[in-house]
């Protein structure tokens, strides 16, 4: 599973990292710095894809932020206006009821306590929200009182609201505790007796009822609705700012009939503040209705959306980078493979050209040597003949022996020059009739001395029944030379090399070259046909031998396979068509 995962990661890892430095191959590469090409490709593609994504995301953020802000403002403004209208209506309704009572009843009627109680009862019944009712003369003396508190005969001359009550025809006070030591609001209506003196009808508003009205506008936990006076003192309890009569840090609002919304902070937390001055048609109250919303709570939906956007953008970025890395790796890999193949072909061409010119030179040399060799051969033969045909020296073994050594040396030189010339011919692409057994023998003759010195047992088992092949003898020879060379390098002293040929069917022969050498490790086995893979680092192996062999076998229309066990030996099996098709050589 882990291996599978690691191997799947390879699609993101370019092949050129595995490249082994080969100084022969380097000059033929079109691109020298594949690492740079790969990173630049990823960088440029990623930049092209990610910059627009980031810009669009930022613009989207700003747009949403703006629309959320404006939506919040609008909602706060609406809520503030509605709550203000309710509170104003609450006060105006009770004030109007009081005005109506004064106008209808008259002073004499009102100072009758029994009647006043009756009036309070009717008012409570009709409107509610009133807790007591009293009549006060110009001197501040309470003439009549109806209500639950024992306030009969109290004097209000020194109370701040009394002065205001005398001054204004209609008056609504702030919340204060007064004699009853409970928070309450006073509504007062100034009127004139028959004798022209002034009296005040005062009613106390039930603050509980007011608070209920405010609370009914609380549509969520994060909304705080309360009243403050012009000095920022709380007139009703607030969730954010504290209990009633607490002095808040709310800035002094400028009087306006309109509802206004502003941004502020409450204990360091950003809040949206909506405020509106409460006034009726007849009187201006000291109250300001304030709606406070913590922005963070209100922004919850937007924050959740933003988180979703962030996740989507994040995953998109990762996907884009992955796809770009995959695409870049794929493209650079293809480029590298093509470049590599080109470089190898160029190198092979160069090597072939070098080999060809060396071959031509060798052929020339061999030809030139053959003529003097022929002269030595015949002259020495003649001398030998002279002695052989003369009776007096016929039995002189020493002379015959010496001449024989000359002839043998000439013969050996002749064999070498013939083989040299044989190899030159491998560059001509020509199909010829080839005897497999002879080609194997030719190739092995190069290693004759080596096998003798090292005690390597070479066995050739190619039956004479195998028909002559029609193939490119030069290529076949090269294949055999490479495989036999490898086998000789692999085996130690007293090792074995077996070459076994057999005919599989009328069209195919099989040749097995097996040795008892060091074998090939499993890792290396997968790579041996790759060009420039060599385990012979110290021995200056080019790593081309087996890849050329592989290519040549394919060119001859055959197949090559290898089986190897480390420490036991290696066996190469080649199958070749007996008669090669012309097109296969092209």
């Amino acid at each position: 599973m882990r291996k599978k995962f690691i191997s799947s990661l390879k699609i993101f890892w370019p092949e050129f990292h595995k490249r082994k430095g080969n100084i022969h191959l380097e000059p033929f590469y079109t691109f020298t710095d594949y690492q740079h090409l790969w990173t630049m490709s990823i960088f440029v593609l990623a930049l092209t894809a990610l910059i627009p994504l980031c810009i669009v995301t930022l613009i989207h953020y700003q747009l949403i932020q703006k629309s959320v802000d404006s939506e919040l403002r609008l909602r706060t403004e609406r809520l503030t206006s509605n709550a203000k209208r309710s509170v104003a209506f609450f006060m105006e309704e009770r004030l109007n009821a009081l005005i109506f009572t004064v106008d209808e009843m008259g002073y004499d009627h009102l100072i009758d306590n029994k009647k006043l109680v009756e009036i309070l009862k009717n008012l409570k019944h009709g409107f509610g929200g009133l807790s007591d009712l009293s009549v006060i003369d110009m001197g501040g003396n309470q003439i009549a009182y109806a209500g639950p508190f024992n306030l009969q005969g109290k004097n209000y001359k020194d109370q701040p609201w009394f002065a205001q009550g005398l001054k204004n025809k209609y008056f609504i006070s702030e919340v204060f505790t007064g004699y009853r030591e409970l928070p309450h609001i006073i509504i007062a209506v100034r009127s004139v007796k028959k004798d022209g003196s002034i009296f005040i009808l005062r009613a106390t508003l039930d603050t509980e009822r007011l608070m209920q009205t405010l609370t009914s506008y609380k549509t969520g936990e994060y909304i705080d609705i309360f009243l403050v006076n012009n000095n920022g003192v709380l007139q009703t309890p607030s969730v954010h700012y504290g209990d009633i009569f607490t002095r808040t840090d709310l800035k002094t609002f400028n009087y306006s009939t309109r509802t206004e919304v502003s941004m502020s902070t409450c204990q360091g937390v950003p809040v949206i503040l909506g405020h509106s001055f409460i006034s009726t048609d007849t009187v201006v109250t000291p109250f300001i209705l304030v709606v406070s919303k913590k922005k963070q709570d209100m922004m919850y939906a937007w924050l959740e959306l933003r988180q979703k956007i962030n996740w989507t953008v994040g995953i998109s970025v990762i996907l884009i980078v992955l796809v770009i890395t995959f695409a870049s790796t794929f493209m650079v890999n293809k480029l590298y493979q093509i470049d590599n193949a080109k470089a190898q072909t160029m190198l092979q061409m160069e090597q072939n050209q070098q080999l060809a010119s060396i071959g031509q030179l060798a052929a020339g040399v061999a030809h030139e040597i053959n003529n003097p060799l022929a002269v030595i051969n015949q002259t020495a033969g003649y001398v030998k003949d002279l002695f052989s045909f003369k009776d007096e020296v016929r039995d002189d073994d020493e002379i015959i022996e010496n001449i024989d050594s000359i002839l043998e040396a000439v013969d050996r030189c002749g064999t070498i020059t013939r083989q040299l010339l044989g190899f030159v011919r491998q560059f001509d692409i020509k199909i010829k009739k080839v005897r497999l057994k002879k080609i194997v023998a030719d190739v092995l003759s190069f290693h004759k001395k080596e096998s003798e010195y090292r005690g390597i047992h070479v066995t050739v088992d190619i039956p004479d029944t195998i028909p002559d092949m029609e193939t490119d003898s030069g290529k076949l020879q090269q294949i055999l030379v490479n495989l036999v060379n490898n086998a000789f390098q692999a085996v130690t002293e007293d090792g074995c090399l077996d070459i076994i040929g057999s005919q599989i069917d009328t069209e195919t022969i099989e040749l097995v070259i097996q040795d008892t050498g060091c074998g090939i490790s499993e890792d290396s086995l997968a790579k041996i046909h790759e060009p420039f893979f060599s385990t012979k680092q110290d021995q200056m192996g080019t790593g081309l031998g087996l890849s050329i062999t592989y290519g040549l076998v394919k060119k001859l229309g055959g197949n090559i396979s290898v089986h190897s066990t480390e420490g036991v030996g290696t066996s190469f099996t080649i199958t070749l068509p007996i008669k090669i098709q012309e097109r296969e050589l092209a």
């Binding site: 052929a363 061999a366 030809h367 030139e368 053959n370 003529n371 060799l373 022929a374 002269v375 030595i376 051969n377 015949q378 002259t379 033969g381 003649y382 003949d385 045909f389 000439v410 013969d411 030189c413 002749g414 013939r418 010339l421 044989g422 030159v424 011919r425 001509d428 020509k430 010829k432």
Partner: protein, 118 residues
């Protein structure tokens, strides 16, 4: 049996002629193609042993000319350029090719072979 040896390598054919004589085969020698044509006009040979690569007339051209003079004449080619199987289109299968340096016993064997079959 009479044969003619043609090669610009004078010492080579001189020695070869002497050795063949020792083995009972009479061989004339010619160092150039022209000389060989001249000699074959005077004498009828059974076999001509020709070097392929010679200055002036090459072994192949010489074969054509000598065949014109004597259609019965058999040819053995000797070459310093590698072993048997030269890829020269002018050579035909019935001709015999031998590589230098030459094994005299092999040459004699071939001479007898072609004169018998011919």
């Amino acid at each position: 049996m009479k044969i003619i040896l043609v090669d610009d390598e004078q010492k080579f054919i001189t020695m070869l002629a002497k050795r063949l004589a020792m083995r009972g085969i009479k061989a004339d020698i010619a160092f150039t193609g022209d000389e060989a044509i001249q000699k074959s006009r005077d004498t009828v040979y059974d076999v001509a042993v020709l070097d392929i690569k010679m200055p002036g007339i090459s072994g192949i051209q010489l074969k054509n000319k000598l065949s014109g003079l004597d259609p019965e004449l058999k040819f053995i080619f000797v070459t310093g350029h590698g072993a048997v199987g030269q890829s020269d289109e002018n050579l035909i299968d019935t001709d015999v090719y031998l590589a230098k340096p030459l094994d005299i016993e092999n040459l004699i064997k071939k001479i007898y072979e072609i004169t018998k079959t011919g």
